[in-house]
Symmetry: C2
Subunit: 700 residues, 2 copies
Amino acid sequence: MQRILASTGLLNFCRFPKQVRYFSQHFKPQTHKVSVKRNSNIGLSVNKMATKFNREQLESLLKHRFFFAPAFDIYGGVSGLYDYGPPGCALQANIVDVWRKHFVLEEDMLELDTTMLTPYEVLKTSGHVDKFADWMCRDLKSGEIFRADHLVEEVIEARLKGDRIARGKKDEPAAKTDKKKKNRKKKVKEIKAVKLDDETVKEFEIILAKIDGYTGQQLGEIMEKYKIGNPVTGNPLEKPQEFNLMFQTNIGPSGQLKGYLRPETAQGQFLNFEKLLEYNNEKMPFASAVIGKSFRNEISPRSGLLRVREFMMAEIEHFVDPENKAHPKFHTVKDLKLSFLSREVQEAGKTEPLQMTLGEAVEKHIVENETLAYFLGRIYLFLIKIGIDPARFRFRQHMANEMAHYASDCWDGELKTSYGWIECVGCADRSAYDLTVHSRKTGEKLCVRQTLAEPKIVKEYDCEIDKRKFGPKFRKDSPKVTEWLQSRSQAELEELSKELAENQKIVTKDISGIAAEEVEIPGDFVKIEKKKKTVHVREYIPNVIEPSFGIGRIIYCLYEHSFWCRPEDTARAVLSFKPLVAPTKVLLVPLSNNAKLQPVVKEVEQQLKQVQIPFKVDDSSASIGKRYARNDELGTPFGITIDFDSLKDQSVTLRERDSTKQVRGSIKEIIGAIRNITYFGEKWDEGVKNLKEFEGQSED
Amino acid sequence: MQRILASTGLLNFCRFPKQVRYFSQHFKPQTHKVSVKRNSNIGLSVNKMATKFNREQLESLLKHRFFFAPAFDIYGGVSGLYDYGPPGCALQANIVDVWRKHFVLEEDMLELDTTMLTPYEVLKTSGHVDKFADWMCRDLKSGEIFRADHLVEEVIEARLKGDRIARGKKDEPAAKTDKKKKNRKKKVKEIKAVKLDDETVKEFEIILAKIDGYTGQQLGEIMEKYKIGNPVTGNPLEKPQEFNLMFQTNIGPSGQLKGYLRPETAQGQFLNFEKLLEYNNEKMPFASAVIGKSFRNEISPRSGLLRVREFMMAEIEHFVDPENKAHPKFHTVKDLKLSFLSREVQEAGKTEPLQMTLGEAVEKHIVENETLAYFLGRIYLFLIKIGIDPARFRFRQHMANEMAHYASDCWDGELKTSYGWIECVGCADRSAYDLTVHSRKTGEKLCVRQTLAEPKIVKEYDCEIDKRKFGPKFRKDSPKVTEWLQSRSQAELEELSKELAENQKIVTKDISGIAAEEVEIPGDFVKIEKKKKTVHVREYIPNVIEPSFGIGRIIYCLYEHSFWCRPEDTARAVLSFKPLVAPTKVLLVPLSNNAKLQPVVKEVEQQLKQVQIPFKVDDSSASIGKRYARNDELGTPFGITIDFDSLKDQSVTLRERDSTKQVRGSIKEIIGAIRNITYFGEKWDEGVKNLKEFEGQSED
């Protein structure tokens, strides 16, 4: 197998941020306009002026409101590890809940909960032990460690920038490129204005364009040729070495059972294939799914929530007949118009995606088959359902040299952020790779047996064994040798028949579980030839279509897509989460601390609990406006105000977060409206159409 | 700190199965009767004859229906690691969902999602690096490893059994004791009939009674004295050595940042205390919660789902003022009558729990305070809500020598199974232990500042510093030294004042972040004495009440409590899950494959989806009875049959799993009844009161 490194696309979605690198030149950072209407999706016509996106302000809000925090903060933190605080955790739980309903329940998938601890053998077989690595190089004096491709990229960019300064050019491209690394600790601390010769500039530009494709040796050669060392001290660096990105541990007390923390949830699903097929009454196609944490020991993670060492994934493995990748529900998505940045477009050096329906994409062979296209559609619908901005979404096809070792095709669902385009969902065709390697390793048949409607006559290799000769020669290994011969695939039998024809014997070291290292089977022991056969059962190893979601990345993008500031006061920030995923749905605000209001507050609480709508009470002494501002930052879509009029007629006020519009009605009416808007997809106008507009309270 | 081992009660719930050991003599295995009515809680009067519980039959069902399977099965499996298949996974998700609603939402807790990877420093401080261990001993010849306490126990039990045989006694007690180890691979393969002298018999009985309390050295002495070696080969064993139960790994590429997989979720909550308090607007008391996986590298896990290396926990840390442990909602649980196996009862050698209300338990000081008691009540209500049999539940208080190093009191919620009483929930008072140690280690104040209603005059140690002298002597360390002095607690100031009085100086190595290793503060630099002070703010470190749930263990117990066989045919097993937690709520069964039935099936599907009720369709050609039998095993509470009459009037049949009773009504009526029974707590009779009884189809 070809050696392909993690950093050059081993895994279909988590080798972040490839797209930042590919397209950063074309991405205009921080200038997209934020329209409330588009995000809130409560359906209000709030066409306030858009404000400029400010990442620092968003991040400070997220930390201040404890959406997340560096893990082990009081111990100084560990890079790449983050905790989710209450609102972040609730948002995640709601998104996972929507995911489960959208995929597992609606598509009748078989959800599993498999272990994270994984023994060495499994990941050796899957290819991860050998290939799941990045290149690192070490400063032998200081002990500092760099990720080789990142270092080369940054140093060369700095030199190009220095060159432009020396040439007196306006530093356009470099400035843009830099934006993407705002959150990385810079390795290159200062830019020196040194003019390069034209030849070098060209070479550097080529290197940058190809940076994701280099092997460790190539990176080492570049570092040597251009004298790239530790950018701060100037020390030379060790040659790039492979660093496997899996966390290793020992299982059990003996220290002999080596294990890893899973780098993806997929393997646990493949290993259970037989049981899943049986559970599904042997029916094909079907899908399994896992929602859970995976782990990658990044060399030096530095992009906040986008590149972490422990992260939540949701992965689907859809097992399908390789000869029939039609999907019975394709018609439900075929008219969705989406953006496709296909391989061809990219190879032509373009960045403008094709706009077309999924149906057209399949027809034009841009997306290979209906099943793959069906999942692209479902992925899109899921993201829109949780509030991702459709205008900042596209599908990008992997380049041939970018794909993981197991993939035959792969589309990434990418979301546009201030960091550039971020791959958040991968949708790969893993072909029969994984089932084949595990089956070969364990000797378990991981395949489907399909009874044919009509028997078929085929010409197939057949292996005839002269059993009497086996016993005397192979003795107690005899059954194993026989079994080995009988379990060869058609392709293998073809090879063996050639070997027999050439050498009049078969020599193999592949038979496991026997004493002899090498077995020699004489030509007169066995006859392999093509024969006509009537076949009643077709046996095949399914292909696997794998939609794989990085939940943490989706959450970060959702933060960016939902964030805006009130134009009248840019210090007042809002997170316009859709009610369906908002951490809390309702804030209960008694107008004052007056005890008389309490019974109504309790009554509203009671009724909200009855219909299971998550809410919070804020009975602090802060002004109504302040209390709402706090909750706008938390993304709470609705506010219920209890005032002294509520005592008269049990009426309360409902406030909508994005527009700050208010309506008034009975407790029951108001809660009914919240429920219909939150869980049953009604728009605001629809939900409150029977309620009176209210302009009693000011927010100040 | 005293050295206390994991196996002697370090952690409040996962040192399984202590209770099996304590009470196995008193537990009569496999004789409890299973009453359908008690478990189903759909409220049907199904007083069919109880059948005997058969663990083998249950386990075979659980594996066959893929509730769970050994992880990496096709690779031979890894002990202590299991995957949950679709029904097990759905059951777990539903239980977690109920847990989240019952605790996080109803109690307004602050849920976090914290990382599993945990750096060494944190777990060193918490005490886990030093104390979270079991004793193991190794056969130096074969390499085999034994858990010391288990080995001693088993060998001594075998010898006592041999003695009884030699004495011609009926082997009563031993037979019972053995039941508990049915699932352990036996270390002692054969029992030799050797008579022991009376003295030894007595000594052995004492050892068995104390087996959980021995240190490694004591276990070693016992092994030496009674010549306990490898029971199969007779080889001598190495002395017991500590084996830390945490999985170790390295974070980052340098290999210098040692880390562990968390053994509990609690630490991540403690470390976030300050942020949580701020998020809660500085209000006390409050609780945080985490639902997630934890890991323990058991020496040789052998009790199926009850002792595993990777498991789902749900933990609450309730932070409370140590001077006020009243709970405002205690009245809501105070009349619950529960079983308490208190410390006193156990010390008196009894096993009959006290029966009383939570109110009485607090009054009589059996449960120490209202907050602890409140959570005991909530734990009980949660378990009943998900279908645990109240008759097989009790709370058992930890013995003084059994508690974890951080706990000042602990009650276990124990569930009775065929393995004995299993601790499934721990409810510990962790006092201020964790916040104190982390605060001391990091220098961060993890405390609450409470503005007093009225200023208080107190006599307190005060530290007066002659600042002019500090600068010249300590130079740039001066601020750190000053800060250190000023941040001492009252107890520490008392110590320092004594030191000053004795030595006229303070010598310390405790000041972190300065150049000098040791600092000497002369007596004339500082004055520490008691002074009257007016205090406006009270500062305190909260105590922590920790309800901690082992979700996997609860699930196993729920399997046992829900399992029974139809008396008319004991091969027909049923899992009587409550509809609320059942993996699938409804099975759709078209009477035949006739295409005419399809539109009605689709219509039912559509309506079920609309109200988000999880269902499955079984349109296989098996008989109706077979299809229902399959789903009884999966615990699906309802079946909807579509027959040819459905074509006439769109009516369908609803079947209840436990009673197999059937009623008939329109699709809308039937789905309404399912919804009310599943999610709104209605009993069957109530839910279907407007529907006609139906006796059309037989199940055979």
